[in-house]
Subunit: 345 residues, 2 copies
DNA sequence: GTGAAAGCGCTAACAA
DNA sequence: TTGTTAGCGCTTTCAC
């Protein structure tokens, strides 16, 4: 592979001139420039980014860490990130963690070793993680994505308020017997906040919040578990009239389980999701859900990160960046066919 | 940020010893090793991957280029890729191209400048692209993903045969009036092959293939176009009894348009997709579709690429790698609720 | 406008 | 077992 020296030799100049010709053409006499360009083309010269990155103090790499891409909510977010960095000449180094805290640690370390300019992270549980503090202490540019940790640089919706609003909608539709279905609560700060929101709405309506039904995401068989739980409730004659699922994927799985159990949605039981996946609108009935603007979350997070990175260079006093607080984007309620009035008893 | 020299000084040894302690601990006296490790920990030393990469001939980076992550088929594939490289100490450099050939060129160039060890690519149209030949000529390790180009290193299903089998299934269900709905044919080799498969099946049954209905993906309003076209056909009194959509996303959009036009699926019209998205199974009726094993496609492609990369080092004679042909994975037909017998006239 | 030279952080001969 | 040293490919003063 041709290197800058080869080009210099062929163009009959020094490597410094080649470098200038490539990076600051205006500093080079047009004639020389042409010779360099010709030489570079003939040799199919491909500048080695590693050399440049080792020399300079920026790599142009952005580290992105997400739990999984199996949930479209994260893929959507990644699209927003891509959109935001498009045209900036930056590239994405991507890692997924499967919600595993150990992998989170490793992944971040790896990304930092590659000298990424900044980090975009969705942590399983940002509140109980010292990681972010460590990063801040080290002066690493970083934005949390989806995690809504107050006083932290992050972009998200207000999960608690959003969940409360969704559940209120169920209550207004006449439901009193509402159960929340969720992944492992201890493993996700978002699920926890959504559960709090559920409680807020129930209590505000004078209803008693019920314990959450926790489903292990990693077990794969989400539908299975819903079905089991449902059968149990059915035997007790205590089937709720509505399910609030902590995310749309779970809602979809639950609906399937309900269907297989011979229940009709929404006639026998209503279902409300959280996320606002696009596919939800294509179903029939369409999935009622609390919509978070996933693409926008990704886009904003990336934009803030870029500002942070650029600002770090600009401002003499570090820490004066204005992207250091939480950015809470608006959520919305999508009323869908999966929510109706509870059945008459 | 602490550097290898700082660690050496603190541990009272040379930088070479530090390097050894970190990379080949067995070459270092236990006592020295301990001192180095202590020094590294105290200084929070984080080895700079760029330095190592510039020196060695491998970066451990894999370049991944996909059209979009908005279609779960690619997100799934990426999951498979991640799974395959997990534990190998490699990282993914990700770029999406939005099916734009110009972006494809740029992206690849960028990835090569970063000195990725290999490339995993889904091209809009692999057949009409000289890119892959160039890469091969340059000796770049590379696997195509989803593109089924014979005689090329790629992993895919047999799109033509798979489509034919799907359409045959429609024919067996009694349909004779089947139309294929697709994105721009000229922009995707897969769509083209699937259209050929459609033709094969029609002709094998003595039916006349109809022109494909092409929908511009980039226009965003996919449903719109389906609706327009449908209205047109309706006026002509020539509504087909079945739609074969070149991918599941399109099928979902089409179903929505049909629903909005007051048509029932599958009572008035049947719909068959292609991809086998997981969400298709959660719908009701469930989406009938030609299933390609997306995660496996990603996984195999990555595995082959790794073999190629490692082999390149091992074998003296380059080009002797056995991952140089096309790997065709088996497809399947998922019979779903969206396909039924055609309505009686 | 151009060149010589230092050096980014690391690894791998080669010596000791 | 450890140290010295020569680069990997590039950018960037500092001279000319």
């Amino acid at each position: 592979m041709a290197d800058i020296r080869d080009v210099a030799q062929r163009a009959g100049c020094s490597i410094a001139t080649v470098s200038r010709a490539l990076n600051s053409p205006q500093l080079v006499r047009p004639e020389t420039l042409a010779r360099v360009q010709a030489a570079a083309a003939e040799l199919k010269f491909r500048p080695n980014a590693l050399g440049r990155q080792l020399r300079g103090e920026r790599t142009g790499l952005i580290g992105v860490m997400l739990p999984t891409l199996g949930n479209p909510v994260f893929a959507d977010c990644l699209e927003g990130i891509e959109a935001a960095i498009d045209g900036t000449g930056r590239r994405l180094l991507l890692v997924t963690t499967q919600y595993d805290p150990e992998r989170e640690r490793n992944a971040i370390e790896t990304l930092l070793q590659q000298r990424v300019d900044g980090l975009l992270l969705t942590l399983a549980d940002a509140e109980h993680s010292a990681l972010v503090d460590d990063l801040a202490a080290e002066g690493v540019a970083c934005q949390l994505v989806y995690n809504d940790a107050p006083n932290r640089p992050c972009v998200s919706v207000d999960n608690r308020a959003a969940a409360a609003q969704g559940v209120s909608m169920l209550i207004e539709a006449g439901h009193r017997d509402i159960v929340m279905v969720t992944g492992a609560l201890h493993a996700s700060d978002r699920a926890k906040r959504r559960f709090l929101g559920y409680g807020d709405a129930m209590q505000a309506a004078g209803l008693t919040p019920l314990p959450a039904v926790e489903i292990d995401f990693n077990s794969g068989a989400r539908g299975e578990r819903v079905r089991e739980w449902l059968a149990q409730r059915e035997r007790d004659g205590a089937r709720p009239t509505a399910l609030f699922c902590s995310n749309d994927l779970l809602a979809l799985g639950a609906m399937r389980a309900l269907r297989e159990a011979g229940l009709r949605v929404p006639d026998d039981i209503s279902v409300l999701g959280f996320d606002g996946l696009a596919v939800g609108e294509l179903l029939s009935p369409t999935l009622a859900t609390v919509v978070q603007p996933s693409v926008e979350i990704g886009r904003h997070a990336a934009q803030r990160l870029l500002a942070q990175i650029d600002g770090r260079a600009a401002s003499a006093a570090p820490g004066t960046v204005d992207a250091n607080h939480a950015l809470i984007l608006p959520h919305a309620i999508r009323r869908g066919g999966t929510v109706a009035a509870p059945p008459r008893r």
